[in-house]
Amino acid sequence: MRVLYFAQARRLAGTDREEFPVPSTLSTDAFWALLLARHPALAPLRPVTRLARDEAFLPADATLAPDDEIALIPPVSGG
């Protein structure tokens, strides 16, 4: 699985992207548990951060696959 970190998520994770293996499909909750184990500093962002795949936001009940590229989208501030 590839994960992309932007803005505050990038700063807290200390990287803009990483890849790691996941054994099977997983829920967004399981994905977050896995992320927070790797980057505890991301915890404060979790309640306000959305996940995106294929350039679209994911619903909370989405199922993630081992070869997905998932982006963390903290609150946006464009314009």
Partner: protein
Amino acid sequence: MITVKIGPEPIEPLALPPIAGAGACAEFTGIVRADENESPIGGLRYEAYQPMAETVMRNLLTEISAEHGLLAAHVRHRIGDIRVGEAAIHLALWSRHRGPAFNALVAFMNRLKQDVPIWKTDTLPPHS
């Protein structure tokens, strides 16, 4: 016709292209102010998840164009370091009459600030 562009280039004034049937063009330019949270700044640094930001803006414009009956929509968002007084975003919407273009301008900017993955990530120091 919908065009979306994100990039580090300065946003220059646009010669409005001819849009068949348009009687109205409403535009918005967002400009970097000299203060952020009441402290003086020299500018702002913007970051985008570029492919997704372009896709989301295009989808938003498609949706809003259908809802308001727009004839064309152009948006440019600058990323990277933007100095005070320079434009971060320029939006132009065309419609037959002015009302739909005005309403769509407000609707797009509200949605942009909720759903388009672009961030102000840093302030630039003043006088640099």
